[in-house]
């Protein structure tokens, strides 16, 4: 099993509520700013995009790379984070 970061565990452990987009695993300050510029200012908006893509990990990673300039690792991490959150709370 892969190891998860503390940020990942923090996010997946509770409903996201009004958390900012930088609370997502893999999304730091710089990526967060880029997303906010495009209107994805809260984590739930990114969740919305994830759900629009039918929770497809690959497509979401691709979108994230395009939208924020994330690399594969960051996009994968965010994808996994959202997948697990949905498994737990959706």
């Amino acid at each position: 099993m892969s190891t998860t970061s503390q940020k990942h565990r923090d996010f997946v452990g509770e409903p996201m509520g009004d958390k900012s987009v930088t609370s997502l695993s893999g999304i730091g300050e710089i990526l967060g700013k880029k997303l906010e510029q495009q209107g994805f200012d809260k984590a739930y908006v990114v969740l919305g995009q994830f759900l629009l893509l039918k929770k497809d990990s690959e497509m979401f990673s691709e979108w994230l790379k395009d939208a924020s300039g994330a690399n594969s690792r960051q996009a994968g991490s965010c994808s996994q984070c959202l997948t697990e959150w949905c498994d737990a709370f959706l």
Binding site: E58, G76, E84, D87
Partner: protein, 300 residues
């Protein structure tokens, strides 16, 4: 008259497509052979360009920008599709697309493009195999170059497709189902380069109406609490302590009275008085009298 004659047969298929679209020529179906494009090109465009040749620099620039043009051609073709058409096209390739909205449209267009390229290459390779034995080698080389070009720009981040194309070069059209599964395998690997698999995780306890699956122990006791509990277990319970205290108090009082009385009769009188309970003063008076009388009797 110009020195450079553009030979459309040397253009790539996508370049021809782009040029046709730019001149508002109806494109043939996507999987047509290159020769059809060349014919159309010669028909419509070569006549136009006969009088248009001005700069030779354009040719060189266009060759360099070939990659981008290929992309643009594809983009042109696909942005003409409506949302429904795009969805239907994806469904044809076996992809169940979600809602096609502003933010998802670009993604799905890319996906469709990639799917069409990989399929188109499979078809073109199959066609060219037949051509191999009859036509000159030039065409084959051009075809492979075209595949290489479109392959390298289409692959972008996905190394899977590059290795896949190598396979396609040698595989026959009848092996497409096998190729697809291998492609899927490779795609999966690419999606998790660090080996992270998004497997379903066991739900969090108590969340969203799920029953508690893992019960945490009660709040852990501190060392001092544990010590106190140990000590308390060994001590005598407090009720018994109070009872013992009262019994001892009574005994001591009785002993004190006995010591003061120092004879049997006062002891009995004391006991009587104790039995009666409320006549403690009389008991004391009796005690005094009985004490005096022996003393008096003793003195006499």
């Amino acid at each position: 008259m110009s020195l450079f004659m553009e030979d459309p047969a040397h253009f790539s298929k996508s370049r021809l497509k782009l040029d046709l679209v730019a001149h508002n020529v109806v494109l043939p179906p996507t999987k047509s052979r290159k020769e059809i494009y060349v014919d159309l090109y010669l028909k419509h465009i070569a006549q136009k360009n006969a009088g248009d040749f001005s700069s030779d620099d354009e040719d060189q620039e266009q060759d360099l920008a070939d990659k981008e043009e290929e992309e643009d051609a594809e983009i042109l073709v696909q942005s003409c599709l409506t949302d429904d058409d795009l969805k239907a096209a994806l469904l044809k390739h076996g992809v169940k697309a979600g809602p096609i909205v502003a933010s998802t449209r670009a993604l799905y267009e890319n996906k469709l493009r990639r799917l069409e390229q990989s399929e188109g290459q499979g078809h073109v390779n199959g066609v060219e195999k037949g051509v191999l034995y009859s036509d000159s080698e030039e065409e084959e080389e051009q075809g492979e170059q075209e595949d290489g070009e479109s392959g390298s720009e289409g692959a972008k981040e996905e190394t899977a497709e590059q290795s896949n194309q190598a396979q396609q070069g040698s595989s026959q059209p009848s092996q497409e189902p096998v190729k697809d599964t291998i492609e899927e395998m490779f795609l999966n690997m690419e999606a998790s380069p660090t080996g992270i698999c998004a497997t379903r995780r066991r739900p969090i306890k108590g969340a969203a109406g799920r029953p508690v699956q893992y019960i945490y122990p009660d709040t852990p006791t501190s060392p001092t609490t544990l010590e106190r509990r140990e000590v308390e277990r060994r001590l005598v319970p407090i009720h018994i302590q109070i009872l013992v205290f009262f019994i001892l108090a009574c005994l001591l009082y009785i002993i004190y009275v006995c010591v003061e009385g120092n004879s049997f009769s006062p002891f009995v009188a004391l006991l009587d008085s104790l039995d009666q309970g409320s006549e403690s003063e009389e008991g004391l008076m009796l005690q005094a009298e009985t004490q005096d009388t022996p003393v008096i009797s003793g003195q006499e």
